[in-house]
């Protein structure tokens, strides 16, 4: 495993315009979390995971390894069967971006982005500056009156991200948000996400099954194995944020991709902890 380079972090803080916040304060902590579904499938076993303020954390693994389950647990959409989730920080507003844009088709872009604020009791007029700011952040200024069906796949996803950002969440949860998009759109959105993350100094937990995407985006990659879902490796990506196209051409990037790939392959070949054969 590559040793984290403290120097890289220092460079990031010096060159990036993001405030050099105490970057490693924990925001959420999963302690020995297990999740067994009602149908008996063990989705997660003994997961220990810390999410630190300001980091971009990727959960990488094959399908069925419980990546999405971790997001659902963090979002409070499901409860752990075993273990617990602590939130050391007092405020932990969440934003959630799904694999599909999941916009309300009957509402225009403005009303879709307004929704989280509206559910907090903000009127249209009160919410307007914040909604317009969120739309500007994802590059959708001027599209507030468009209906979802009038937008391309990438623009729908941008609207979905704007909605997740509307409440200025402390933690942004993203569940394979770009998996359904074409390569070109995905790369553009990756770049924009990196820039946005630095601009907002946000904390992001990003679920993906792409090694390249995870290395490009993350400060830290947690590699997971299936049946039962568990954490098997962690890869630090010490390159400074924000990154750009040049990063993809660097030897460091290629080396980190190889390392992450190897970790993933080991994860897929690995026997479940305790030597049991996972029941499916």
């Amino acid at each position: 495993m590559a040793a984290p380079l403290p120097a890289a972090r220092a460079v990031a803080n010096a060159t990036g315009d993001a405030p050099s916040a105490p970057a490693r304060e924990p925001l959420a902590r999963l302690a020995q979390v297990g999740k067994t579904f009602q149908n008996g499938v063990e989705a997660l076993r003994a997961v220990d995971l810390e999410i630190r303020r300001g980091e971009f954390l990727s959960l990488l693994g094959p399908s069925g390894c419980g990546k999405s389950t971790i997001l659902r647990l963090l979002a409070g959409l499901a409860n752990p069967s075993l273990g617990r989730i602590d939130w050391p920080a007092t405020e932990h507003d969440l934003g959630f971006v799904f694999q599909e844009p999941t916009l309300m088709p009957w509402a225009n872009v403005f009303d879709n982005v307004w929704l989280p604020l509206r559910l907090q009791g903000q009127s249209r007029a009160t919410a307007r500056p914040r909604v317009e700011e969120a739309l500007a952040q994802v590059g959708l200024s001027g599209f507030d009156r468009a209906y979802p069906r009038e937008l391309s796949g990438g623009m729908k996803m941008r609207a979905s991200i704007a909605r997740a950002l509307a409440t200025r969440p402390a933690l942004l949860l993203m569940d394979e948000p770009f998996a359904a998009l074409d390569e070109i759109t995905r790369m553009k959105l990756n770049d924009d996400l990196v820039a946005l993350k630095c601009e907002l100094n946000a904390t992001v937990v990003f679920v993906t099954h792409s090694v390249f995407e995870s290395v490009y985006l993350s400060d830290r990659i947690v590699v997971m194995a299936p049946r039962p879902g568990r954490v098997v490796a962690e890869v630090a990506v010490p390159a400074p944020q924000p990154r750009n196209e040049d990063f993809r051409l660097r030897a460091e990037y290629a080396e980190l991709c190889r390392e992450t790939s190897r970790a993933l392959h080991r994860a897929m070949g690995a026997e479940p902890a305790g030597g049991e054969t996972g029941s499916q």
Binding site: R72, W106, L119
Partner: protein, 261 residues
């Protein structure tokens, strides 16, 4: 585009006129007596001559149909909302609505006539047939909401009232309008069938009764004239519900999307 639209309007109109002309020609050439098959021109003349009688019946049938449709819409929608908010209610009462739906209304009508006045019985029959599609469709719509959106509302701790108002009801709208279109057509059919079963004469006689009555009197042109009015009513209801559906959905729903050729 404009030419395409003109052809789309012109072709069915021409086909309709051609059919009427052929009908007229066959009747005249073969000297078919009106008591067997009246010519379209005679049906038109009868429509004008008997308008005072027929218009009264048209008003009776149409008002019963509309009252039944309004009642079915309000009742079906409210019950669907209750079912969606409280599922045990659905398990308990849905079988009853199915029984009412699958029992042919023509078989229920004579029984209703024992307990109700003919006018009320016709209204109830019309209501019964229009009610179910509206209830079933709206119920389906209220429960077929995108699960991710439900998760989102749950994550933002939305009350179930807001979830209903801002998520389930808009999501159910296309389904409800589909049910309304079916229910609108069925309300007229229910009213006509029940009128025939009730056979009420005099003031409260609807168009269906005029058909039966004219049949007894061998006044075949008037039978046809009443039939024309029923068809026109059915088309009018269809146009109204379709227009309403278009108005509410065309901005966002795929069903109202016009595809470029």
């Amino acid at each position: 585009m404009n030419r395409d639209r003109a052809i789309r309007t012109l072709l069915p109109a021409l086909a309709f006129l051609a059919a009427l002309a052929a009908w007229e020609a066959i009747v005249r050439i073969n000297h078919i007596p009106p008591v067997i098959l009246p010519a379209p021109s005679l049906i038109g003349a009868t429509l004008v001559k008997d308008w005072p009688t027929l218009s009264g019946s048209l008003v009776v049938t149409l008002s019963i149909t509309l009252e039944a449709l309004v009642a079915a819409t309000v009742g079906g929608t409210l019950l669907a909302l209750l079912f969606a908010q409280w599922r045990p209610l659905e398990y308990t009462f849905f079988p009853f609505t199915v029984i009412l739906q699958v029992t042919p209304v023509i078989a229920i009508a004579p029984l209703l006539l024992v307990y109700l006045t003919p006018g009320e019985a016709v209204l109830v029959c019309s209501f019964l047939v229009a009610f179910f599609p509206i209830l079933a469709n709206t119920s389906l719509g209220l429960t077929s909401v995108d699960h991710n959106l439900l998760d989102l509302f749950q994550m933002y701790r939305a009350s179930s009232w807001r979830q209903l108002l801002w998520l389930r009801i808009p999501a159910a709208l296309p389904y409800f309008l589909g049910g309304l279109r079916i229910g609108g057509g069925l309300a007229l059919i229910g009213a006509i069938v029940a009128e025939i079963a009730a056979g009420s004469a005099g003031e409260g006689a609807g168009l269906a009764f005029r058909i039966v009555e004219s049949g007894y009197r061998l006044n075949i042109p008037r039978m046809f004239a009443a039939l024309v009015l029923i068809s026109v009513s059915g088309v009018a209801i269809f146009v109204c519900t379709t227009t309403l559906s278009w108005l509410l959905l065309h901005r966002w729903h795929d069903s109202a999307r016009r595809r470029e050729p």
